[in-house]
Symmetry: C2
Subunit: 136 residues, 2 copies
């Protein structure tokens, strides 16, 4: 397994953005399960991923598939009382950092709960006033 | 790539359940993106996948990751006018047939449109009266 993927697995569920940021390319793109838009840049993406990690509970990775720069990390978790399964779809750049990070999940109801929880988190994190230009 | 995966890629978007059924184990389990439940058995799962394939348009697979019995097939498509990205999470059995088929997708809104469309399809396909015991 690539060292970046091994480190991501180790830190992602802890929801500590300072552990996640060094794994991301400066111009990383993050596509969330909740809406059809893309977050750009290490600082806002690390902040979003930190919030997501704090919202997930009972998180564990299942299968790790891929090689080279292409990886799919299957996970299971809870969002509040709801079960969820998801997958981190990752592309690494030539420096071994995360260039794209797209998350698909199931089922619909659990993603709705995540969307509501994330909207609340982003609205109460003052940094997202500054980050709003990072979403396009 | 495993021959079953190559055949699945060839037939899945056509929405023809008769092409899909021979790739499935008799006791296949299918977990849809739309709700937290599992369809069991080749005939009902082929019927569900046939309907899904007919609901997706502009479908194409992107990256195919995995090896052995573990596969992740990344795809992009439209559901009506809405863009969607998804991933087929597949486990093969010892005979090379699909034993589990779980689908995670993004974003929330597109999965909601799929859920509504699938409910309509299942309600108007009389076989699903018989298949309802296959969902648990």
């Amino acid at each position: 397994m690539h060292a970046t993927i091994a480190q991501l697995i180790d830190v992602v569920a802890k929801g500590n953005e300072h552990d996640i940021a060094p794994l991301l390319a400066a111009d990383v793109a993050f596509m969330p399960p909740t809406y059809w838009a893309t977050w750009h840049g290490r600082e806002p993406v690390a902040a979003v991923l930190g919030h997501v990690g704090q919202e997930f509970s009972d998180f564990h990775y299942r299968r790790i598939m891929g090689d080279g720069v292409d990886w799919a990390l299957e996970f299971q978790c809870k969002i509040g009382a709801l079960d969820a399964v998801g997958i981190d779809l990752i592309t690494l750049n030539n420096d071994g950092l995360i260039q794209t990070f797209e998350v698909a999940m199931r089922p619909y109801k659990s993603v709705g709960a995540l969307r509501e929880a994330m909207n609340k988190r982003v609205m109460t994190d003052p940094r997202f006033l500054k980050y709003k230009d990072a979403l396009g």
